[in-house]
Symmetry: C2
Subunit: 320 residues, 2 copies
């Protein structure tokens, strides 16, 4: 890389920021080196996760919430992730642009993420982009993602406050909760709360919260906020609730605890990725990978036993 | 597991087959051991992939194609995957049940897959189910999946013949091709071919095929088959084309080549999964994982440098 991206990003260059993010999405090695340089400057942004299935109004709510946050003079970064439908990426961004001021507000940076190549690549790229926006100095970063699939849960779990959007009559409340989102949600948002069935959805969530508390009691009483994002209703409430949650996390020491745990998990992921890359490279370079296919087809081995043998030879002390 | 599932599945028990698949979806360790026992009995099924975005009529086409295949006395396994909308899983299966005879035909086994827990879990579970159906003795296995996202491309790439469904007027042809499906499609299917715009779509596909051939010439001239699945039109044609493709793969030695490569890739994936488990176990057992978070937050290290150090200590000889 010809320019010093770390310096430029820290200096506030939006152009350098955009470029660096593109390089990170492409899994560029030099971009990772820049990310490492930026690391000491991270940790000051507050990260909000907004998740919910298609049609719950995530983008609209994200836009409205951003307006409210901006009114307090705070800067905002938005990372929109939608791996299940990369084709709608353009449309989503389109919606945002139609939202008007946001896109011309220099205090707001919006990035739409598409599906990426490698295993778990999207989750990694999203984490990286959040780190960069953090170092760039955004006060608040909103990560918006469809709450379906493990990648999604991984992505939203980097947030300090996770908001789970549900809509009356969509019938997906129970499924979203089954998918493990119940356990990571900090704030429930009933959007389109003027629709029939809002009371029922509210009751359903309350019941779920109660059931959940039996297994895992928490000091933070999970709140339910009602919104009509399209009219801007309830958004101020939501923002106040997010601030209360932040306050709770900071006072109770849970913010540090949470972030320490995230760092551990992040390190684990980096080890896994790098180690795997090394092993794959060696297997390919040595021609071993081609042999495996031949050996297995001769009936001598199977992919599972072969994998075990290879890991054993690499990490001899490991129990598999 | 109390029963010998491998023996029962090989003996033709549909009950054991269904149970084993459920265990595999739950990532049960014992089920993986059964899968390993079944491995030597796999490799005889012919695998057809049917992919295309929502609304292209994949399920209807799959149903019709199954009828045609059954008429030749061949047994069929259907694996339907839809990770982007697990909520529609029930509806899809409902459509199939409404299709009538299929669900009561003992020569047909249908399985709808939902989104599963771990990273790439769905792709893995799908491959596992295909393996089990293969060992069970199905002549043909159809894997039906929405062509969106890397998981999807991974899933459909296990097929011997990949059919890409496109519909006139849906405007997604170019996007599907951008998503890397062009490279893995063996047969293009223009479904709902009586709709306006069929000729244009046909021309568009032909142009793309021509462009593709400039970069990667192939001995198999990519065919386009027109169907109206809902009326059963063109399905016999499609089946004949699939058989021609199979014949081409077998005669040219490409079937063996393809499967050898798949085994290599499968082994890599198993290594990827097991490696993560092994690494996590090691770091957790040693209490290392908790320390990392604390050290990084003190500003002494970052996750990337920490990861490098750990890998170095494990793999002293590796250049990272």
């Amino acid at each position: 890389m010809e320019v010093n991206y770390a310096e430029k990003v820290l200096g506030g260059s939006i152009r350098a920021l955009s470029r660096l993010i593109s390089y990170l999405e492409d899994e560029d090695e030099e971009a990772y080196a820049v990310l490492e340089m930026l690391y000491p400057f991270t940790g000051t942004s507050y990260i909000i996760g907004i998740t919910g299935s298609h049609g719950t109004g995530k983008s609209t709510l994200t836009g409205r919430l951003t307006h409210v946050i901006r009114r307090e003079g705070l800067t905002v970064g938005i990372v929109a992730v939608d791996p299940s439908s990369p084709f709608t990426g353009g449309a989503l961004l389109g919606d945002r642009i139609r939202m008007g001021e946001l896109s011309t507000d220099p205090g707001v940076f919006i990035r739409s993420m598409a599906t990426r190549g490698s295993l778990g690549g999207l989750a990694r790229a999203t984490r990286d982009v959040v780190k960069v926006l953090d170092a760039f100095g955004k006060d608040v970063i909103i990560v918006e993602t469809v709450g379906v699939g493990q990648d999604e849960v991984d992505i939203v779990s980097i947030a300090d406050s996770v908001c789970l959007l549900l809509v009356p009559g969509l019938g997906d409340a129970i499924q979203m909760m089954k998918a493990g989102l119940m356990e990571i949600a900090d704030i429930f948002v009933v959007n389109k709360a003027d629709r029939p069935g809002a009371d029922q959805l509210n009751a359903e969530i309350r019941m779920r919260i109660k059931q959940g508390e039996q297994f895992k009691p928490t000091e933070w009483g999970l709140p339910i906020v009602e919104t009509i994002a399209v009219d801007g209703k309830g958004i101020e409430d939501l923002w106040q609730t997010i601030k209360q949650h932040r306050n709770f996390l900071e006072k109770s020491g849970k913010l540090i605890e949470r972030r320490q745990e995230q760092i551990g998990q992040e390190t684990l992921r980096v080890i896994h990725e790098q180690l795997f890359r090394v092993i794959r490279q060696r297997l390919q370079d040595s021609g071993h990978l081609d042999c495996i296919g031949q050996e297995v087809m001769k009936g001598k081995h199977n992919p599972y036993s072969t994998a075990r043998e290879i890991i054993k030879s690499w990490l001899p002390a490991c129990p598999i």
